[in-house]
Amino acid sequence: MNKKYLPALVCGFGGAVLTTIPGMENIACCLLTPVAAGASIFLYKKSQPDLLKIGTGTGVILGLLTAIFAALFASCFEIIITYITKTSDLVTSIPQAESVVKDMNLGPAAKESIELLKRMVADIQSNGFSILYAFLITVTNLITYSIFGILGGVIATAILNKKNINSV
């Protein structure tokens, strides 16, 4: 396997596992994905001791790869948990969204969107799975994780390179 994929896969999986731990997000907040990206670059550097300096481009690619793996694993975990429990954050938030639409009289588009959400909730409650919900969480995870993975990759590359220069 390519030396870039393995650290990204390991750290992406680790990051995704950590997101499923209740209360973890309270502590790590937005730093979980960048730290996972940083760890993957660190592992990549360890796997290539001859490498003196990691290019920013390599850092970006490693960060992005870690983020993509983390997003896919996190989505899978969420889909599995939703399938087992037959509930999700969408199920709990739908009554509130419905009351907002009713109170504010937001028009037919809002009613249509609430119908779509209701259909997703009904699918989740009856089958434990909704294709639209699965698609939605995968897309949103991919967007956010990718942004933060790239940022984490750039910062971690700079930190590791500076540390390397200081130690030489």
């Binding site: 997101t19 997000e25 309270n26 502590i27 907040c29 937005c30 979980l32 994905t33 920013t56 481009g57 997003a71 996190a74 954050d89 969408l90 938030s93 969204a97 419905e98 907002v100 639409v101 504010m104 937001l106 588009a109 809002a110 249509e112 969107s113 609430i114 779509l116 959400l117 939605l136 969480i137 949103t140 995870n141 967007i143 956010t144 994780y145 933060f148 940022l151 750039v154 910062i155 590359t157 700079a158 930190i159 500076k162 540390k163």
Partner: protein, 169 residues
């Protein structure tokens, strides 16, 4: 032959200044879009529920979004907690100041120093030394966001400037 100092800067300097300006503009635009996204419940109260849910989901992987820890304005809360909002606001302020003024980019040690208040605030409020304060969380977030953005900007600028110099060579 007399050697006189040219008034025009070398082409590489012009290229790097132009690249740097362009990067800053792009970064500010991206920051604005990101911040507008989490301010959506406050700014656009009449948006539909699917948009609301989609946006909430976008920010959920990077923030716990606990309503008690989110900044509330006119009974509408932001889609990220006070600490995350602080980080993003700090980054936006850094982006604007970097565009308007020539500010020195921070060294690695300043990044670590900026992380310390945020780190200790998380630890102290989590173990109960003091209760969670939105102002403190936002303030420590702003400091960290400001420094981390400048650090990031420096790296991105170096990367693209080197690329443009190599292309010119």
């Amino acid at each position: 032959m007399l050697l006189t100092k040219s008034k025009n800067p070398p082409i590489t300097v012009i290229a790097s200044n132009y690249t740097s300006f362009l990067i800053k503009i792009i970064m500010i635009s991206l920051m604005f879009i990101w911040i507008l996204g989490f301010l959506q419940p406050i700014l656009f109260t009449e948006s539909d529920s699917l948009t609301n849910y989609f946006l909430k989901r976008i920010y959920s992987p990077v923030c716990h979004q606990e309503s008690s820890k989110c900044i509330n304005i006119a009974n509408h809360s932001m889609l990220v907690c006070a600490r995350c909002a602080g980080i993003y606001f700090g980054a936006l302020v850094a982006a604007i100041t970097a565009l308007l003024f020539q500010i020195p980019y921070p060294k690695l040690k300043y990044l670590l120093i900026a992380l310390l208040p945020l780190f200790f605030d998380v630890i102290f409020s989590s173990i109960g030394i003091y209760s969670y304060s939105k102002i403190l969380a936002c303030g420590t977030g702003i400091i960290f966001g400001y420094i981390v953005f400048l650090f990031l900007l420096n790296e991105i600028e170096n990367f693209f400037t080197l690329k443009s110099i190599k292309r010119n060579e």
